[in-house]
């Protein structure tokens, strides 16, 4: 039985009732198809009502669902071939970031993806999807190759955040992420980033500097985990639900804020309910943008990515002094 959330219980109860009636009907040979049909309609309405109006915190729960598809689930469905390449050549191979060369709609691409485990054992192996510096350095190594060989880069974001232990500090976690940001901003190849689950802070952003940012419908992408935000704001981690609403981090919020470019539809209730359907949607949307970006010149791609970043931020500006300054600026020094 799949992990069930509190808000899904009314649906589960109704479905259980339908199953019971069907069984009763079969056992006793009584025709109850009328009743079943009524209840099924009711269930469909209820699902539409519940899944169509998910609150931010409920989306967090879906994005963190233990059975939510991870990169390794999507890989065989998105790519005709995937050759995983390992290691940062400096310290180790990080298993919370996978990378390699793949064939996407017949075209070689470089793929970089964060990977969470699906059970405790795998999660320990993958450090719960929290990359260490060597993961980000592997990403830069492989993306530099993509630039060298003119391959588009596809990144997939799914992490609670970068690793936060002594080893990460010793090996320069901050620098590793910063280098990722700097490197990605300078490439002349198309970069498409997709948030497939959880986008946790700087650790996620490291793979988020794309020409295009896509988000799965029930994914979220935040400056801080809602639990940590609640702990800072209200000294109470149980208020994560309120923090989730305040942070405006759902896919829909990011689309509205102009940070995300398009949302990728998920089956009702979340990607885990139909992996193939989600992969198909994902494939189509990525392909659409890739076709478009491939028409641009290398310089234009790079410039577009810079301008996209450049435009993010909201503030007020009063004077024209700065414009004057900018026109003056080339003269005296």
């Amino acid at each position: 039985m799949a992990q069930l959330f509190e808000f899904e219980k009314p649906i589960a109860e109704l479905e259980l009732k339908i199953a019971e009636i069907q069984k009763f009907s079969a056992d006793k040979g009584i025709d109850l198809s009328q009743e079943v049909s009524t209840l099924e309609k009711k269930a469909a309405l209820l699902k539409k009502e519940i899944y169509g109006n998910l609150e931010p915190w409920q989306k967090v729960q879906i994005a963190r669902h233990s059975e939510r598809p991870n990169f390794y689930d999507y890989a065989p469905l998105l790519f005709e071939d995937f050759i995983e390449l390992k290691g940062d050549r400096l310290f180790a191979d990080d298993r919370s970031i996978a990378g390699g060369i793949a064939l996407f709609h017949g075209m070689p691409v470089t793929v970089i993806a964060q990977v969470k485990g699906k059970d405790t054992k795998e999660n320990i192996k993958r450090n719960f999807g929290m990359p260490h510096p060597e993961g980000y350095r592997k990403a830069v190594r492989l993306m530099d190759q993509a630039e060298k060989f003119g391959r588009p880069i596809l990144t997939f974001i799914d992490t609670p955040g970068a690793a936060c232990d002594l080893g990460a500090e010793e090996r320069g976690q901050g620098e590793a992420i910063a280098r990722c940001l700097l490197a990605t901003s300078g490439y002349h190849v198309p970069v498409i980033s997709t948030v497939i689950g959880e986008g946790g802070s700087g650790g996620a952003l490291a793979l988020g500097v794309g020409n295009v940012l896509l988000m799965l419908e029930n994914s979220f992408y935040s400056v801080i985990a809602p639990e940590s935000c609640a702990s800072i704001l209200w000294k109470d981690t149980t208020k994560a639900k309120e923090a989730a609403a305040a942070l405006k981090f759902t896919a829909q919020d990011l689309l509205r804020l102009g940070v995300a470019d398009e949302l990728v539809r998920e089956p009702q209730g979340g990607a885990h309910n139909n992996l193939h359907q989600t992969a198909e949607e994902l494939s189509q949307v990525i392909s659409k943008y890739l076709v478009r970006l491939r028409l641009e010149s290398p310089e234009a791609l790079r410039d577009q990515r810079y301008q996209k970043l450049r435009a993010i931020g909201v503030f007020q500006e009063t004077a024209d002094i700065n414009n004057m300054l900018d026109s003056d600026v080339s003269t005296e020094s």
């Binding site: 010793e170 940001l181 802070s201 909201v314």
Partner: protein, 306 residues
């Protein structure tokens, strides 16, 4: 113990936590490491060093660039004092001072937080940017203000730093950034997060233009600022004992149940692990920067003057 035997009790002694009630107005509560002092300049004449416990005459501390005269502990200083200690007199031209914060996410309590920070720090936002000279050498400077919401980076801080870097490219000037920050500013959500990418991308352009970037990482620098502009210096400088890291010590302790060894995340620790080039005492910062800036002046580059 022995000390007590020889102690003349008629002397006034000020010890932490014991005799504080005697002269309450003259003693600043001990700073917790990782937390900025509430008030940099206490009304009183005396300041207690958080490191060695020595009670210092405030005027002497000022004269010593707010570095403890006994143990050389570097007190945190405001952006304006930093500027004053560093650059040639009257050489500073401030940029983008009119950029104003906007509560774009309608975040609980943000407007109040901003007003409080403005009052406390006397600054409009968490960074001061512009151009200045050190020993006659022009450069672009940015200084984070720890007293403004812990120097956190929201849209205004990110935009001011990015514009400063972009103008440095136009003017063909080197950039020096003094960071001190808790990281990306939570109250502006994803917009704050992307300031990390924005500032890093601008530094990428600066590098392509063969212009120098010196990052001076001061106490404390953490989170999204460490994971962006603060870590990208051609030359990485810090002050003695400054705390620098990605994750704060308290969070590491809480989430990883890991106790950090003594001295972890200090400038010295970072230097030992290869992240910092130079640890420079505050009173040496000006001459050291002057030398480095001079060695990178346009004419010094082999082959072409561009």
């Amino acid at each position: 113990m022995f000390k007590d035997i020889f102690r003349k009790t008629k002397y006034v002694t000020i010890k932490s936590g014991q005799n504080l009630d005697r002269r309450p107005s003259e003693v600043v509560p001990q700073e917790e490491p990782g937390i900025v002092t509430k008030k940099e300049l206490p009304d009183g004449l005396w300041v207690k060093c958080p490191k060695c416990g020595e009670v210092l005459f405030n005027k002497n501390l000022e004269e010593n660039s707010r570095v403890c005269t006994t143990c050389e502990h570097h007190f945190r200083i405001s952006a304006t004092l930093r500027l004053k200690l560093l650059v040639d007199e009257d050489s500073f031209e401030e940029w983008d001072a009119d950029l104003k914060t906007q509560d774009s996410l309608d975040f609980p309590g943000y407007d109040e937080k901003i007003s409080e920070a403005q009052e406390k720090s006397g600054m409009a936002e968490g960074v001061l940017t512009g151009r200045a000279k050190i020993e006659g050498v022009p450069f672009v400077i940015a200084i984070n203000e720890a007293g403004f919401m812990m120097g956190s980076m929201g849209s205004v801080v990110g935009e001011k730093i990015t514009r400063a870097i972009e103008r440095a490219i136009k003017l063909r000037l080197p950039v020096v950034i003094f960071s001190t920050s808790g990281g990306a500013r939570m109250q502006e959500g994803i917009l704050s997060l992307y300031q990390m990418a924005k500032t890093s991308a601008a530094l990428g352009k600066l590098a392509e233009n063969h212009l120098l970037y010196i990052s001076v990482v001061t106490d404390p620098t953490f989170g999204g600022v460490t994971a962006s502009y603060a870590s990208l210096g051609d030359i990485m400088i810090s002050e003695p004992n400054a705390l620098i890291g990605f994750t704060g010590p308290r969070v590491i302790k809480q989430t990883m149940r890991q106790e950090l060894p003594a001295g972890a995340q200090t400038a010295e620790f970072n230097q030992e692990h290869g992240s910092i080039d130079l640890i420079v005492a505050r009173n040496q910062m000006r001459p050291v920067l002057a030398r480095l800036l001079r060695y990178h002046q346009e004419g010094a580059r082999y082959g072409t003057t561009v």
